[in-house]
Amino acid sequence: MSDEPVTMPEGEDAVAARRAAEALIVDVDGYEGPLDVLLTLSRTQKVDLRRISVLQLAEQYLAFVERARALRIELAADYLVMAAWLAFLKSRLLLPPDPTEEGPTGEELAAHLAFQLERLQAMRDAAARLMGRDRLGRDFFARGVPEEVTMKRRVRYTATLLDLMQAYARVRTRDEFRPYAMEREDVLTMQEALEALRPLIGYAGDWRRLSSFLPPEWRGDPVRRRSATAATFAAALELARQGAVELRQEETFAPIEIRRRGERQ
């Protein structure tokens, strides 16, 4: 960004004026936004930022935008928004205040713009002072050979009483430590059913319902009963396959009946 004051006299020094204008426009990307342009323009007034003539500033800026457009150079929306706002501000400053109108007065808006410009300038000065300070790694230095602080890790183990009790409960219920196996408590295996059925079948010369062969202790609980029924049925099939028994069923879902084979009456 050029620090030279930007003036745009009409007529005479047309070349210089155009160059100044072009510098501005061509550098429009170099500017950090419309506030930056305004700050640059305000410097031509060579007064305290708090006392700049916002009206004059608005005129300079509008002229700048006008020239940019005359040169068919596209301006970013930010710049045009600022131009529109400054035109509005200019009208407010020029016209006598309308007491019926809401919102801030032209003076208030102008004062705010002056504040913004002053604040931006102040931040730039502050940034320059900051960067001008003695800096680490350039003007002052840290230790060249920092010594490694070795981290000795000491592990402290903890457990709570709850952990202890839960652990014991876990062990005692064995619900997680036993090698995995199906719970067999309520399952009558076919082998067991076969062993139960085989001695009984000797007495069954007549057709009898298969359900009557369920071991008595497996009849009450429905879960146990289901398992025993399935096992006994499978055992009966096995005995039939071996030729020891005959099976029959009157119709679908009717009770299955069983009798010893070979001894017809």
Binding site: Q116, A126, L130, D134, L136, G137, D139, F140, F141
Partner: protein
Amino acid sequence: MSEERNDREKGRAGAGEPGLFQAPPMAEQERMVEAMLFASAEPLSVAELEARMPMGSDAAEALQHLRRRYEGRGVRLVRVGERWAFRTAPDLGFLMSHEVVETRKLSRAAIETLAIIAYHQPVTRAEIEEIRGVSVSRGTIDQLLELEWIRLGRRRMTPGRPVTFVVTEAFLDHFGLESTRDLPGLKELRAAGLLDSRPLPGGQAEEEEDGAAPGQGEMFDD
């Protein structure tokens, strides 16, 4: 040293004190702090020092003694925010051309953004943009975050809960500042009202700024 050692032994031997062991004498604590800070390139806090010292040590007091001892020397004990570090005296920078680390040049946008964050912290991105009159590119913030000169502060309790930015201890260390209160010209800027967030008269669209004033107060008030 042998004398100091003897003192130390005596100090330790003294029983009947509140602690289990009595802390070593201050001269010895000063040596310890000196050694730890000398060995570290990074600033260390009182708590970090005391964590490595014998029980009952008072690193803060040892630091005061040590700071005085190094006044005017080629190496100085400096405070960096809540931490302490040895740094070479800035007037001897000319001897250090060998140690200079070439740093990436910061863009103007980055420098200004950094200054705005330092002087206005905690500050939102919208506020930075309002002050600069131009949008702040993601890259600028990223660069400052990467340098670890800024970090995220608390979210602003305004609609949208925008994040704020604050400067770090690494920032203070780099620019040789004890705290953000020592930023050059801070008092004058504040007196001139240039650190106030002054909403646009009529208050259009700048509501977000309202939250800024108390935030700043928190940060800089003594």
